[in-house]
Subunit: 465 residues, 2 copies
């Protein structure tokens, strides 16, 4: 009786165009029972949580190029070795290092009060005693860009722009320009400093840091992000119509060239000619939180999945897990990796660097010879609630340089809905990771690796996206 009712309901649902759109398409391919078994077992994974908990607890923040990142590398080698990976090693490189100093902001007039902010990576410094100036308030990048130079020269520029929440995180690119290029533009136009509204979607009093860039020849000015409530407070204060005077203390500095490195571990495959399946995330973090979602989760998810494949027996392709260094401050780890390994054949590259919320979509950039691989991925991932997107896979700062060489890409996209609430803030700590969602990620990556590492098809180079 129940089965009859269900069948009737299904038929009825399919007869409605609206509901039919929501009905997943039939599986385009069958997958081996072993893939399903590995995927479903991964829903009980504890390895990923232990990595996230361990790294964030026993190392904490690990800003690229600092002794904390070096401690993180040592921790990683020990952990990856203990997990049974082969060829565990550090591949070092050198990089310029920027370190945060003191930071505070204060409205001096018309309504004296302190504001919460954090310097942006590569920010210039104020004098130790601070810098005082009038604030030129621009509600958006467009307003800033269209303002005359004399509204900017000698001022502390403020740029507000409220980043919207999106599923795919696409707001970051669009609204992040205030951080990426605003400070250099303000410096060029004679501003003495710049504070931006944090590139974030929350309404809590956490500033969102992140790098900005001053091109060669542009002298860095002090540049910082106000928390969203503080940015809106500054706008409210300015809306009263009186000139706003602010005192800024920001004393970051470039401390010179230091060592950073990528940590690499492998599950050797039986067929070296089939190419490497590269997976990973980044080991470094911003200095304000402990980098739990950015990106302890990513390295944990990919390593936990690779270990599950390793424990199930030798795969056809070598799985290489790379915990990249120095992603946050410019992607030096990804560049160093691509340079060092350009001569090796990579089948695919995939990175997890978008938190630990549930994977909702996958996208590929695979050669036509490997079309069935994508179809099997669709079948294998569907029970986890993951659908196939129409974009091209291969996204990410760390795999970017390897992807550019023509490597095929497979992306497992986490939901970005809440990601920018705590991204780059002091609040990116273990409390932000949902263990159940983390396990769904491990299951998705395990299924992906089970399909891709053992695919009988050739997975050759592609036209880069």
């Amino acid at each position: 009786m129940k089965r009859f009712l269900l069948a009737a309901l299904t038929a009825s649902a399919l007869s409605s165009p609206t509901l039919a759109q929501r009905t997943p398409p039939p599986p385009p391919a069958t997958v081996a029972p072993e893939v399903e078994r590995l995927r479903d077992a991964a829903l009980n994974d504890t390895v990923a949580w232990d990595i996230v908990e361990g790294l964030t607890t026993e190392v904490g923040q690990r800003l690229a190029g600092t002794e904390a990142e070096a401690r993180a590398r040592a921790w990683s080698v020990a952990r990856l070795t203990a997990l049974g990976f082969k060829n565990v090693r550090i591949e070092p490189y050198r990089m310029p290092v920027w370190e945060r100093g003191a930071e505070s902001a204060e409205i001096l007039a018309p309504f004296p009060q302190k504001l919460t902010l954090a310097a942006l990576g590569n920010s210039g410094a104020t004098p130790a005693g601070g810098l005082t100036g009038e604030v030129a308030v621009f509600p958006s990048m467009a307003a800033f860009q269209s303002a005359p130079d004399d509204a900017i020269r000698g001022k502390i520029v403020y740029i507000g722009n409220a980043m919207p929440r999106t599923q795919d995180g696409s707001g970051y690119g669009a609204y992040g320009t205030a951080r990426f290029t605003g400070p250099a533009l303000a410096a060029r136009r004679g501003a003495v400093a710049i504070v931006i509204r944090s590139i974030g979607t929350d309404h809590h009093r956490f500033p969102h840091t992140g790098t900005t860039n001053f091109p060669e020849g542009v002298k860095p000015i002090p540049a910082a992000a106000l928390s969203v409530p503080d940015a809106e407070q500054l706008e409210r204060i300015a809306s009263r119509g009186q000139p706003v005077r602010m005192k800024l203390v920001l004393t970051p500095r470039m401390v010179g060239t230091r060592e950073s490195g990528n940590v690499i571990a492998e599950v050797p495959g039986s067929d070296p000619s089939a190419g490497i399946v590269l997976v990973g995330g980044h080991l470094d973090s911003w200095d304000l939180g402990t980098g739990a979602i950015d990106d302890a989760s990513g390295i944990a998810i990919t390593a936990a999945a690779a270990k599950r494949i390793m424990d199930a027996g030798q795969p056809r392709r070598t799985i290489r897990v790379v915990w990249f260094g120095a992603e946050e401050v410019g992607g030096m780890g990804g560049e160093a990796y691509a340079k060092a390994h350009a001569g090796e054949r990579h089948a695919t590259a995939s990175e997890s660097d978008f938190g630990a919320d549930r994977v909702w979509r996958f996208e590929v950039n695979l050669p036509t010879t490997a079309k069935l691989v994508a179809d099997r991925l669709q079948t294998a991932l569907a029970p986890l609630g993951i659908t196939r997107g129409s974009g091209l896979g291969g996204d990410g700062t760390d795999i970017g340089p390897t992807i550019k060489l023509g490597t095929a890409g497979i992306d497992l996209n986490q939901s970005g809905w809440d990601y920018f609430d705590s991204h780059h803030t002091p609040d990116d700590v273990l409390d932000r990771v949902d263990p159940a969602a983390l396990r769904q990620n491990v299951a998705a990556w395990t299924a992906m690796l089970a399909v891709v590492a053992n695919a009988p098809e050739a997975i050759g180079p592609v036209t880069p996206r």
Copy 2:
């Protein structure tokens, strides 16, 4: 047809004991249409929001006894006068003032990292260069209290206790003891400093400050609250089994005796012999946020309601709005008020100092002669979703000393479910106030004042709760 169905459903609901319990009791009394009109009009109030927005924007934090609190008093006199209140005045008093200094915490071993914390009010200071010690970790007050002295002497004591979320906020009293008395107990037993898990229900990286007390003869030690994630991080680190060494820098100081004051405004009544209806909240705030929920909302709600009664015509009883000073740091404003006005007849006293979430319950302590007043309150408040509680009204630090003199009390209880997420944190800012919930509060207080200020019954003294 619809009416018939509704009637049938109601009858059916009443016939079920479970549902019957959820059906509000019939109104115990009728209220004047004017009360209902005033109450419903207040659901469109803008005055309360303007006060919260104005005070938090144009003054910001206003720690008791500081120049910021003095600016807040000047702001309040101007605003209350502009709103049309009579006898607007400041009643000053003097009080000892504690001010925050630098504050930082760092785990030195086994896993070096910074922790986020805030000094507790009345905390002692470390040397300017900081204090280093081994941490004695106690997961609860009970564990701390039962520990031998030599586990405490010379140590930095940590006390964890996870405050549960409750509707009525009752967890604060039970779990707040770690803050109220933990530091003095630790000092007595030879601890060099103490850090507690914040008395809060959130999992964000905001420390919750608040006063602690060192009795006469106990030398204050440095005392601070770690944010909940930092407290759990410390417990995780300690759980690894190695000794934990911490460096603390806390440089608060007592700056001497300063002026504070209560701001008073009135709606004069037609019958001075009927007693004063006292309402209000506190003007001072902690120094970390801008005190939007604690307690700009309370002063805004009570003043907005009083203004609505004033604008509707002269009430029988004088409504006195008091924006108390120095509540957070020891209730000096409430004490000063009770002392100065002990000779006046108060009909009732009520304060709003529990945020701006929806009022869900009211409780009274009224003389038997005024039983019908409570019944009319029940009728008037029911449409706002407010039910009558069985406890005794008259709760609150500011009205406490006046209540002790035998004044009747009426409480309108806000939901405490989320209150301790941001209570006493840097995140207590305008973003925490929901305008719709704030308006429901104004409607509740307007209805209460409409009933009580015009009640024909005598409202005389009561046995204090």
